[in-house]
């Protein structure tokens, strides 16, 4: 019985395949089309960059038809809402730099120290617990950090520094520093882990302490990755918006004072976007000019980070 069934169903597989080959036009078409479709999606990412550049440049161009580019670069006052307005970018840059430098002062030592601990001292188990927690820090939405800066850090600082204003550069600077610390810690730790064990063992076998190995052997060997991570983190700090928008204020002023209200490039763009600046006004175009300046800053820093990482990469 079974034998009969088997005979009835046994068309050779090769025959079945040959049959289907004739009907398989869709498959053949797909084979040719799909690579082309996928190429288009890949080009989309390039188009995005071009779109950003194009947008920024064109609108900035329009801005410079109304505002003298020399004034933009050299003037020390930014009063866009006055009539006539004054459009010197320096106050905004000063605000951005103040916040970024403070962030760097917080993030670099803490980030590096954490990286050294995780890479040179921590056990596997410890590392596996702490690293994910640091990732969480990096994943917290910036508006939450902004809230934290305004409602916790600022009052705390004011209790220590009575002259500190409600809106200032110190509070957002510190919080941005906390936000970018995981970036420095994680990337530097990666760079340090890439240093071959053999190098460490060589130093340890001579009676070095772990501290000496970390500072004198590992750090120099991983320096390109570490520096590159710092530059990337600072670039992120420059581009940070919500923390400064909430806690920094909206007073563009060119100064060294970190206890008074400031405005960064990013916060200015937010302020105008929230307001009633009509399409076509100079103020409308000013956000593109500021945005372009911001883009240049971060783009150059990212290029620098990539260059450092590549040029000084140690060959093991």
């Amino acid at each position: 019985m079974i034998k009969q069934e088997v005979k009835a169903n046994t068309t050779s597989v090769q025959e079945l395949i040959a049959e289907r080959k004739q009907k398989n036009n869709i498959s053949r078409v797909l084979e040719i089309i799909m690579p082309k479709v996928l190429l288009i999606t890949a080009i989309l990412s390039v188009l995005t960059t071009l779109g950003i550049l194009f947008t920024l440049i064109i609108e900035t161009f329009t801005f410079f038809e109304r505002v003298n580019i020399k004034e933009f670069i050299t003037s020390k006052s930014w009063y866009p809402f006055s009539d006539p307005g004054s459009f010197g970018i320096m106050p905004l840059v000063s605000g951005t730099l103040k916040v970024t430098i403070i962030a760097g002062i917080v993030a670099v030592p803490i980030g590096l120290a954490s990286a050294i601990f995780l890479s040179e001292y921590a056990s596997d188990k410890t590392r596996r617990i702490i690293k994910p927690i640091l990732e969480v820090l990096a994943g917290i939405p910036t508006i939450v950090y902004g809230f934290f800066a305004l409602t916790f850090v600022t009052p705390l600082l004011r209790s220590m520094i009575p002259s500190l204003e409600m809106f200032n550069a110190l509070s957002p600077g510190i919080v941005i520093g906390i936000m970018i610390t995981p970036m420095i810690a994680s990337l530097s730790e990666d760079a340090m882990s890439a240093v071959p064990r053999a190098m460490r063992e060589g130093a340890l076998a001579m009676g070095s302490t772990k501290f000496e190995v970390a500072i004198k052997v590992v750090l120099p060997a991983a320096v390109s990755g570490i520096v590159s991570s710092i530059v990337l983190a600072l670039s992120r700090a420059i581009g940070e918006t919500m923390i400064v928008a909430v806690a920094g204020g909206s007073t563009p002023k060119l100064s060294f004072n970190v206890t008074e209200s400031i405005q960064t490039m990013t916060a200015y763009i937010v302020q105008v976007s929230q307001g009633d600046a009509g399409y076509g006004t100079t103020i409308y175009y000013s956000i593109y000019a500021v945005g372009f300046t911001l883009f240049l800053f971060t783009f150059l820093m990212n290029l620098l980070a990539q260059y450092i990482s590549r040029r000084f990469r140690e060959e093991y």
Partner: protein, 292 residues
């Protein structure tokens, strides 16, 4: 003739060892600092917000009176946004990754695309807002809509998905591709039936990371013109809407204490949402752990 005085070396050993111990403690505290801050942040947000967090909060529309205010529209808006970002970013991102890993030859053009993607990852999110404003809101006349915001955020998170998908595809061993091709399968059949199924867990993890980023961002949406206060829900992707971070930003900016607490409550909702999403990612990663 010995040049090294070993008794000197032994003498200097003690301070060196002490230094090591001290520095270790310092490094450890630095690491702990981050964790402590995290703890403080969560504690503050929780204590401030938990009082206002109840069912009414989740289901009410925002209002000028703090007692009546809720995150309903913002929460729904966030879901709408995810609904646009997820398919767009995944399709374009995974498509790009498949092209780069399976079809593209290693030439200057491919290299250029790769570099471009890393550069895109470093562009401040507010700049994407400017792009979205000019391109989607104005040029394509989409207005301040779910679609415009969704497309803008998709571009923002594109690099995340591309990198994750590339890693996942690269991790599929070449022997599997050879086995498939050796049986007469075409390249596309091999990609669909062998490579992609093996790469899906990695891609999903990347997708969830991207979505987490997209729903936490505020700056680009402010530039696009999203309202801080909206009391109705979108009905199509062309409608206006608001999202959780915007609502939180709105409340944070109000001076009254009640609004601060509302903001904290909103933050709790946002964080819970993010924790949920990331737990799903971890779950997926563990369930489909490589069994090679």
């Amino acid at each position: 003739m010995k040049l090294i005085n070993h008794s000197d070396v032994i003498k200097k050993m003690k301070p060196r060892l002490l230094k090591n111990v001290i520095m270790r403690a310092l490094f450890f505290s630095a690491t702990l600092f981050g964790l402590v801050v995290l703890g403080v942040l969560f504690y503050r947000v929780l204590t401030q917000g938990i009082g206002y967090l109840d069912f009414q909060f989740l289901t009410s529309l925002p209002s000028r009176k703090p007692e009546n205010a809720g995150v309903y529209t913002a929460l729904i808006g966030t879901v709408w946004l995810m609904g646009v970002v997820a398919p767009v970013a995944l399709l374009v991102g995974v498509g790009t990754a498949i092209y780069l890993e399976e079809y593209a030859s290693k030439n200057k053009f491919t290299n250029f695309i790769q570099i471009n993607i890393s550069n895109l990852a470093g562009v401040p999110s507010i700049v994407f807002g400017l792009l979205g404003l000019t391109l989607f809101v104005r040029a394509l006349s989409l207005g301040t809509s779910v679609l415009a915001a969704g497309l803008t955020m998709s571009l923002l998170v594109l690099p995340i998905i591309i990198v994750a998908a590339q890693e996942a595809i690269r991790a599929v061993p070449n022997e599997l591709r050879e086995a498939s091709l050796g049986m007469g399968a075409t390249k596309w059949q091999t990609i669909v039936r062998v490579v992609m199924p093996a790469a899906i867990p990695g891609i999903l993890t990347g997708g969830i990371l991207a979505l987490s980023r997209a729903i936490g961002e505020t700056a680009p949406l402010v530039v696009l013109g999203l309202p801080l206060f909206l009391a109705f829900l979108p009905r199509t992707v062309f409608d206006m809407f608001t999202v959780l971070p915007m609502q939180i930003y709105n409340w944070t900016g109000r001076p009254q204490e009640e609004f601060q607490s509302l903001a904290a409550a909103g933050i709790i909702v946002l964080l819970v949402l993010l924790i949920l999403m990331n737990s799903i990612a971890v779950f997926i990663r563990n369930k489909f752990q490589k069994r090679y």
